[in-house]
Symmetry: C2
Subunit: 410 residues, 2 copies
């Protein structure tokens, strides 16, 4: 099924910087799709530190469990051998019993043999249909060709190879100056459905030539993830496979351990990629930012924001360009977090819609309707209770979502 490119997609894939110490290759292994690439290999030089955040699903896939085990067991000495990441699309290798673990072991062994990187530093991910055995022989048959085709200039092809129902490849970059030297960050992502927060919710790989100590790398990744990938939702469903990894090759010899400018640049890349995932939400025609303030706590603010972002009635109202703020009130009410009807206020863009427990005296339906006609919509809610804030992002719920998911076996 060829889906049209999302109307919310950026104009083009960005020109990503080459990251020293990092090379990519892609191939068409025929895992499921025909006539397109479906495997990518990333290989990093010795000295690379690796961090990861993964789905918390109780039925998470064999590759996810393998990555988690390897990162949990890693020591600072682990980076001596470099690292590799192999990703396939078309089959998620999830809920495939012991066969799933065998596939992961076979693939990582083959990558280790070809690249000379020890198997405990070879990470894999699989995305696509659940419950069908991964034809790992087809992937293994391509590993030598992948390894001999590695190039520092092939990240855009890698972003294409990991797509499933995505309608555009996703990339983002940043540069940051530290001690007069420039380090680069480049990231790619895939994801468009089965996307919800509270875990890594898609496949995301971010690379930098900065040198960052392992524990600092993990700390930055986890913390920024809570404000970026854990604040987006397309359909409230959570994949069994999704993974976010951050790799620092250290090839620039610039130490960014604990560096706040580096963390800010990383957050910029992660926010950009997370928004691109929402912009490719299945059937999305509107990009929606929900800003919550005045909540009893930041946690409460996020609960309210996600209740609004996940409400089918709010999302269909947005699809219909209906300024139906009553549904926003409903979503706040059901969220379970603290709210007082008479203290909360709601705005669409800069139009104050409701305050003091009722529609604002200045509000006119045509003002709200004009906001709803925009392609980028902001909903602001002030609970009037405290200092808690959160911003979450989502898209609308359209006929196209139903078409994609009622007819396509993902």
């Amino acid at each position: 099924m060829a889906l049209p490119r999302s109307p919310l997609a950026p104009a083009e894939f960005p020109q990503l910087p080459q990251i020293d110490g990092l090379r990519f290759a892609s191939a068409a292994a025929g895992v499921k799709y025909k006539d397109r690439t479906d495997v990518m290999l990333a290989v990093m030089d010795p000295g690379t530190t690796v961090a990861g955040v993964f789905t918390r699903s109780a039925t998470r896939s064999a590759p996810v469990r393998d990555c988690q085990d390897k990162l949990a067991a890693a020591t600072d000495a682990a980076s001596d051998t470099g690292a590799a990441i192999l990703v396939n699309s078309g089959n998620s290798n999830a809920f495939t019993g012991h066969h799933g673990q065998t596939s992961v072991a076979e693939i990582t062994s083959a990558v280790a043999a070809a690249t000379g990187i020890t198997a405990d530093r070879v990470f894999t991910a699989s995305t696509g249909v659940i419950g069908e055995p991964l034809p790992h022989d087809r992937i293994i048959a391509k590993i030598d060709a992948l390894n001999s085709g590695l190039s520092g200039d092939a990240i855009a092809d890698a972003a294409e190879a990991i797509m499933t129902t995505d309608t555009f490849p996703k990339g983002a970059k940043a540069e940051v100056e530290i001690d007069g030297k420039t380090v680069s960050i480049a990231g790619i992502a895939k994801g468009s459905g089965m996307v919800a927060p509270d875990m890594a919710t898609m496949l995301v790989y971010i690379f930098t030539d900065a040198k960052v100590a392992r524990s600092s790398l993990q700390e930055m990744l986890s913390e920024i993830c809570d404000r970026t990938f854990n604040c987006i939702t397309v359909d409230s469903d959570t994949s069994t496979s999704d993974s976010l990894m951050l790799c620092a090759t250290g090839a620039s010899a610039v130490d960014a351990t604990g560096n706040t400018a580096f963390a800010a640049a990383l957050e910029e890349v992660m926010l950009d990629l997370s928004h691109q995932v929402v912009r490719d939400g299945e059937g999305a025609t509107k990009f929606v930012e929900i800003q919550i303030s005045g909540a009893a706590s930041d946690t409460d603010a996020k609960v309210h924001g996600l209740a609004i972002a996940n409400s089918p009635l709010v999302k269909t109202a947005i699809a219909g360009e209906d300024p139906n703020w009553g549904r926003v009130v409903m979503a706040i009410g059901k969220s379970g977090a603290a709210a007082d009807r008479d203290l909360l206020s709601i705005s669409f863009g800069d139009v104050l819609v409701a305050e003091k427990g009722w529609v604002a005296p200045s509000y006119k339906e045509e003002l709200g309707a004009a906001e709803m006609k925009k392609q980028e919509i902001t909903i602001k809610v002030d609970l009037g209770l405290g200092d808690g804030t959160a911003t979450v992002w989502t898209c609308d719920l359209t006929h196209q979502y139903i078409t994609i998911n009622a007819d396509y076996r993902s």
Copy 2:
């Protein structure tokens, strides 16, 4: 917007028994709709005990707060004056500021004046659009006519008057023999969207001529609600208005306080009405029962069941008649309740689909596909962990849901 009658609707409205000590009247007050009834009044004789369960929404409506206050303050002597219930459709009187409380006070005073029942025994409910002032004068103008038109034989008309986006009126009944005498139960309900569990999720009124002590009536209602109305979901959204009330007129002089046969008959009525609400789910074409067993606890079982029932990806797969059990695995994984991939099994109807962490050896896609073609679908999940069980009910998610909610201002 005239919606076609749900394909899952029962053939006809049941012939409900007259409940001694209870009379109804309906009228067209023009609250919002034209050319249809939109107000119903139920009046009960002295001796009637009343119990209620209401939405837990933090932004619940003025009528809900009023009912809760009155029931909380009620004593056993309260029933001496009888009781009345007035319901309007077309406007929910929710998020209408202090105006909302004024409307409730004006309506209850008018009903009290007309019927001679004290205002603290007059309960109201409103259902329809949120955030618009209730034109209570239009309702009050009809109260004398309603009061003089009360009849023991008018419950079917009452079921029609409380409808909003419902495509059919909902009624259910039961009879139970206690000490050689027969008591009757009759109930009506409305609800089709903004329906989710964990609270009373629509308007439901159930009446019996049995005599039941107030505390016993409330206990039975709350307990059975957890297994019926709190186990259904259409779209995971929760109304600000919804209310479930149970009134026992005692006119039969048969005491059913703490009677298990009575409780069983009441459960039958509540289950029937709750299923009818799912069958009228906006856009529903499939009625889905999800049976969970082997969970670590009953609570965990319900969490798993509702995660499956609320998953947009599961619900769209059902709409597309796709036996996509991978999405069931995903929903179990994301629910947050305990699950072990290698212990769980999944069946569609009597077809074993997955077990021991993978597709069952006996499973064939055409077997699952045949189950999915049915109008009534059963999904069974055994977690293999303990004794916890739950059954929940939902419907599919179709284009018609999007059409109704993207185009209709509810």
